[in-house]
Symmetry: D2
Subunit: 108 residues, 4 copies
Amino acid sequence: MKEILKFRDKRDWAQFHDPKNLAEAIAIESGELLEHFLWKTAGESRKITKEKREKLAAEIADILIFTILFAHETGVDIEKAIMDKIRHNEMRYPVEKAKGSAKKYTEL
Amino acid sequence: MKEILKFRDKRDWAQFHDPKNLAEAIAIESGELLEHFLWKTAGESRKITKEKREKLAAEIADILIFTILFAHETGVDIEKAIMDKIRHNEMRYPVEKAKGSAKKYTEL
Amino acid sequence: MKEILKFRDKRDWAQFHDPKNLAEAIAIESGELLEHFLWKTAGESRKITKEKREKLAAEIADILIFTILFAHETGVDIEKAIMDKIRHNEMRYPVEKAKGSAKKYTEL
Amino acid sequence: MKEILKFRDKRDWAQFHDPKNLAEAIAIESGELLEHFLWKTAGESRKITKEKREKLAAEIADILIFTILFAHETGVDIEKAIMDKIRHNEMRYPVEKAKGSAKKYTEL
């Protein structure tokens, strides 16, 4: 986190990092990540060569960096957000109903 | 990370979590995050009420959880990926050229 | 439509064009379209040079071609879908309430 | 097209429809379309019930309406853009190389 903010502030980029732009950046990067799997089957998508892994790592880093910046700009505590979501999903997807099912909680 | 995997494995969901599906999930969630800012100006997007912050926190958590699962499935070391990307961007965006500019490195 | 299908069938690509993959393709292309406006203000996004217009035209074409193929694969009548949606939105967004407002119908 | 513009102008919405916002709208709607296929296999995604088809039709309409508005705002001729793209792809994906292959033209 500190490294990301230091990188940004040296370049005076906070001015561009309003939440709207950062949310756009996350969406764009996640499209680039998805492109690696287009026209592939689920099975093919599991086969990750070393070269592919490096490309995926770069896409993941972009998504995470922009998401961390977004959280910073909007005052969201990332660790708390993740823990809250897990607790919330534990209620929405009780093990006995959700086990082995890909259904949305509204359809369980 | 441990919490996320425990949650998943209790529900036997690893079978659905191939990289293709996880990349789809990240893209979908990032669209939901973006929707909070549609038709808004950059300035409006900076005004975050407490209620809005909670909704954004839930969207961020979804993106991060799926990204962490994606990294787990594809063998990507998240911290290394972020540090590598920062180093890479330091070369692509040298401070003296990039300061205060929103241009892509290919246009600097 | 005919041209698009002819192009595809000559290359034997229908096998890859299941709805899931086509929906991915639409999402990916729409991310590429959005990238043209990242870090730009609304005002800047309205200034379209001839060169930029050609790039945007290529992105729009990608989105439309995959959407038309998607509609073909899923048996959706495009013109009817658009007219139905306009009728639906006329009810959700009555002129007297929606005029000049960017609010979602759920907030009107 | 005429119907879409009439609907919009009655509500005085052109002011919100700068290219940046419209590109966001397209990305958001394409995420919603994709959500219908998340965690599904390609095979499952081909099974479209009547109820599902109606929901997909509504998503497709959203994507197309915003894309048509985007083209209108940016001065893009939709039919020409599609025909140009097909011609372009005919060169990038010659039948003898691309037949039955899901590879990108850069890898053919």
